[in-house]
Amino acid sequence: MCRPRGQQHFKGLSFLSLPTYNGHKFYSYRTHMSAKKTVTIAVSNHKGGCGKTTTVINLAAELAKLGLSVLVIDLDPQANASLHIGKKHPSEVSVTCAELLLSEIEKLPLAIHEDTHIEGVSLIYGSLLLGRTEDELKDVVPRPSEELRDKIRPLQGIYDVILIDCPPSLKLLTSNALAAASHLIIPIESGSQYGMYGVTDLLRLVEKIRRINPALELIGALLVRHDERQTVCKLIEGAAREQIGKLIDIKIPTSTKVNQSAIAQMSLRELDRTSKVAREYKRLAELLVERLQLTVGDEPL
């Protein structure tokens, strides 16, 4: 726990920026580090505004704080996660997800940005151009849902956790996220009927994705903007448990801090670690470390 934060992370990635990099190096490195397990979590729900990006950013920050190396992949054309934690504007980045998905795998090292507003968290930027990427993927690759999985395969064993922020749609970008992921979290806006409608469709897509990614495991639904006192929130909680089957015990409360942190380009813990919402994300990170048996340094947490 007191190992310097991010140390392994930087060591693990240093080869990526080697000018002599070639595909071969990935593999030689992987055999070295084969002990390290990488968990890839897609955070997805095609209902907009249900807390996908907030969850990705703060989960990333909390996991990094626990000493894990974390990569955020922003697959949303709105690129809000990138605008929040990226030091560059997505339009200034030469290789974003949009380019990565359509180019050769050699571009991968150029796509990863280690320097972000959150220490220990790397980023593959999103881009407005992802909208077009989605259209082009259909035309240029034979298995358009599996491009992301192929492109990030070399990162297995390098990061502890890869978090994918999905766009609010069920189209090709989301399929790519689900095909590349080992785990899935579905944030649901607590108290919203609309949010519940979408879940059924998402679960249908997940079933289809299992044909190409049978190992995809649903961690559960995460209630966001939850307010115990409201009747609807309690009702939705019951409905979500019933429909999705798995409900994460931790509930993320409503908080003005969430919007403040987006403006401040900080994580919630950096803005105010004592706030309830920051503490819940911390608990969520701890729960995942335990549930997914993530190792920090040499010992399980």
């Binding site: 605008l83 504007h89 997505p90 339009s91 407005l128 077009r132 403006i263």
Partner: protein, 301 residues
């Protein structure tokens, strides 16, 4: 502390929004296609249309067919000012005008200048009645719309070599181009390319102008096939250069029914009378020979 936060958020919000606005990201917008009836007089021809003349009998036939069974396929238009421009279907539009129809069925869509040019050409390139020379003029006209010649060739679906054959017309001497203006079918693109090459190879020869003019006259007079034009010039230049007969002077051409049938030329070594074979019958040939014999006999005296 609370006040500080407010101030920080305020300036940060301003910065963030400014940065995003300044990034000038392109937003994709596909207007799509619209099927509608468009007033015939609100339409103008494709400005990139290579064909200047539309044979009346063909238009009459098309008009008759449209009058009988209607328009099978709507024409393709783009918006231009208050009206429309034709991307494809100028004949059909002209036929509608012949029929005094008020409207024509059309697909209206957004088309770039370079696509307009390609549409106009593509519609014509495949038709046999547009000559290579006309196509070459059309290609020259739209050349500037494409960043590279490669892109131009790709857009037109031409292999590069073939495109350069079209470009060869542009390098031919003015007297040839003048004849091509009047009769564009005189020369195919490969004959033009061969001719261009031979003219370039012999550009230092003092006989080039004279020999190429002679060859061209023969071609115009249909006495020389266009596929043999370049070889003819090459051979002739060699012949002339090897011959001591340096001062060839074309004295006179013979015509019958407006067609060139022979010539008289003289050098300091020879006086040549040349006539097409079988132009004269046996009796006439005999008379000519006798006449020359007679003249030679006279000079001997």
């Amino acid at each position: 502390m609370k006040k500080d936060l407010k101030g920080m958020l305020q300036s940060k919000l301003q910065q963030n929004n400014l940065r995003h606005t300044a990034s000038g990201q392109e937003v994709e917008f596909a207007e799509g296609r619209e099927y509608r009836l468009v007033p015939v007089d609100s339409i103008e021809a494709n400005p990139y249309q290579p064909r200047k003349v539309f044979p009346q009998d063909e238009l009459d036939k098309l008009a008759a067919s449209i009058a009988e069974i209607g328009l099978l396929e709507p024409i393709l238009l783009r918006k231009a000012g208050d009206g429309y421009q034709i991307a494809a279907g100028e004949r059909r539009w002209r036929a509608h005008k012949l029929l005094h129809k008020n409207t024509v069925e059309a697909i209206v869509t957004n088309i770039s200048d370079s696509d307009m040019a390609v549409f106009a050409l593509a519609e014509n390139v495949d038709r046999e009645d547009l000559s290579d020379y006309e196509i070459s003029l059309a290609i020259r006209q739209i050349e500037g719309l494409f960043p590279t010649k490669k892109k131009l060739a790709e857009s037109l679906g031409l292999v590069r070599e073939d495109m350069y054959r079209y470009f060869a017309f542009n390098e031919l001497p003015d007297f040839i181009l003048a004849d091509l203006e009047a009769n564009p079918r005189l020369l195919s693109r490969s004959a033009a390319n061969d001719l261009k090459k031979v003219l370039k190879d012999h550009k230092d020869s003092p006989y080039l102008d004279q020999v190429s003019a002679e060859a061209w006259d023969l071609l115009v007079a249909k006495e020389l096939d266009q596929t043999k034009l370049a070889d003819f010039i090459k051979r002739k230049i060699k012949e002339v250069a090897n011959n001591i007969d340096t001062d060839v002077q074309m004295a006179q051409y013979f015509f019958r029914d407006g067609k060139k049938v022979g010539n008289i030329s003289s050098t300091n070594h020879h006086f040549t009378i040349k006539l097409s074979a079988k132009l004269l019958d046996e009796v006439q040939e005999k008379r000519l020979k006798d006449f020359i014999e007679q003249m030679l006999a006279d000079t001997a005296l």
